[in-house]
Symmetry: D3
Subunit: 150 residues, 6 copies
């Protein structure tokens, strides 16, 4: 079992604001991230897939295929976008990096094989760095993972 991590970068704007909270509550919870006109970040995305090494190729997963999935499922939707206004799923959910990480995990989990019968690799982890100080991770907790113990 080898873990392959591939990094991608995208830039997006967002505003942290929840309509069900009052103006003061939004300001208190989100601080300057609640700025009405929004701000933005360079996000660093890490996608980890786990699997055995294919003896024919010596590889865990074809990188061209992985890049194609990540571009179609993630980068084409989020890169150079305003997350609140341009992304359907964040019209009603706050685009915190936690929610963004979970969204990307869900998008990729549906696109990368997950360890069922005959499927060699599975999505192991999505990491998302918002700034050089903050980063977030979603980790697969499938039966396969429990056995692999990481």
């Amino acid at each position: 079992m080898v873990y392959l991590t591939r990094r991608y970068r995208f830039s997006a704007g967002h505003r942290l604001h929840n309509d069900v909270l009052s103006t003061e509550e939004n300001r208190r919870v989100y601080g300057k991230c609640n700025n009405p006109n929004g701000h933005g970040h360079n996000y660093l995305l890490e996608v980890t897939v786990a699997g055995p090494i294919d003896p024919a190729t010596g590889m865990v997963f074809d990188l061209v295929t992985l890049d194609g999935i990540v571009h179609e499922q993630v980068l084409d939707k989020f890169d150079h976008r305003n997350l609140n206004l341009d992304v359907e799923n964040f019209r009603t959910r706050v685009p915190t990096t936690e929610n963004l990480c979970l969204e990307i995990y869900a998008l990729l989990r549906n696109s990368i094989p997950q360890g069922g019968a005959g499927q060699r690799v599975r999505l192991d982890r999505v990491g998302l760095e918002e700034t050089s100080l903050n980063s977030f991770e979603c980790v697969g907790e499938t039966e396969g993972r429990k056995k692999a113990m990481r």
Copy 2:
């Protein structure tokens, strides 16, 4: 003569769009940076001041003073802001990182001593990294600099 460089970080949103250009021209010139709802970046700012070492303190410039100037002149205005909508000077100028770098250089040049009589230090350089691939610099070209040859 010693050069001191201090790094700061801020996050902002922007949209590259020039009203005097047509929709197609804007799209052609700015590409995905022209997205109507904007996007954003983590900017890494480097401020370099040059001067002799003060023999009393062993320092070129007091960092607490420098931080105060940069916070007041730059970070308080740009951090967690939308450059197009929240910053007066970019309502009519395109907030490219070139223009942002030049704006920061002008703001700091008016606040940090520049090498005239009795002034020990001068602003030497402002560097601004927009992404891990792109960065910009404005460099002082005063008479003092010409003599110092860097």
Copy 3:
């Protein structure tokens, strides 16, 4: 379950020396880190907390609260200090980065909720980088962690 990692930095001096060992043994075990007048490092601290996303805020843990805890429990005690002379707990224990990492883990575990009834988040991991070549980690091994498998 989402993992949030926040980075902090502090600078401190230390000397690796154990009074129960002879002068030669100290020199052999700790090498140049046994220099009588000590040396120092820039430490990079990573604190990871794990928990579900709060649906009201879209966040795992309030960063202002986390920063307050880390400043009070760690940075105020260690930053710009001599670990051997200024920190009570290292007067009798060798301030290796292993021991420092464990000490920080213990300080934070007592301050950040750990996954009991009604507590949303728990300290998952403390990472401590001593130099660009060496880093250390303490990882929670509570019942909750065992179930989450990471």
Copy 4:
């Protein structure tokens, strides 16, 4: 239980090519990595050992000993080498970074104590970064690890 990670770097050349595949298949599977005369990389190696802190020294593992093992087992064999032509084990196996990571893991596992009776530390993980975009990990899956849950 503390995890110690130490970083090493080496530079090597390689060519991805499998003799059992046709010329077209090699080109399709490996793309430009199949270039007949090869290319090369700066590899960043991370070796993680896990164990309790030795109360006599305050350390998990002696770094001089670890460096000696890694130099002898890994760096002396791979640094400034052509992996395909200079390394016995890659004459018949494709030197993908997956295979290289697994090879290094096997070399170190035989050299660093693994958690049996009387052995304090064990190899926990080998990480290998091929470029700033791609990295690979092999993780120990011994009984000890399963219990430690990381």
Copy 5:
């Protein structure tokens, strides 16, 4: 005058060897870089162009154009290649990073406008990092540069 720096990366193999030197001299001058089967690196290339900000676009130089030039002149020739065997100009010159940096500077100087009449921008600098410890720079020394003093 604003300086724009754009980063590119490529991976290549090389061997340092000069046919006019004896075997012992080659070994003494180049050390392990003289390994007969070669080794390789991930090169980080920085290209700096200098010029005034175009008031119509707010930019110094169009990045799509710059990327096109660098891909055609540099990356297509060197990326995933063996410098000694695959690059015409290094069949008879030793592919040290100094020579590679100078070669890239010459290739780009002939492709990017240099500050003559009617030409807005000029190549200011080519930086080439061979490893995290070694980097090289070639800097333009045209009349324009002498006046700009950097």
Copy 6:
């Protein structure tokens, strides 16, 4: 003319304190860096030498020779030391990073050829990073440099 930059790292302790200032003045000028028992840093040193490429070797300067000079002149004196107590020149001068950078520049200028008749290379620049936020540079200002315009 090519510029070669080589990076070195060392760790040292220091205390910023000037005996000619009062206790309150020292506290005001140096803040927490005045802590009586000191603190410390990982310093990143960059040494840039400039010169033409030697046509026989394709190199600007032999790295083994440069490493020998830097180890003898700098690292052996400062690495894993307390700058105030272990380094002669800082017994009476405050070991700010400005003063340390200047000291290293002076030590290397006397050891690396400087551009006179028959000397191929000269020390161009010493950079010293104290933390990820602060760095300092000393730049040669010889006649040769003035002509080279950087």
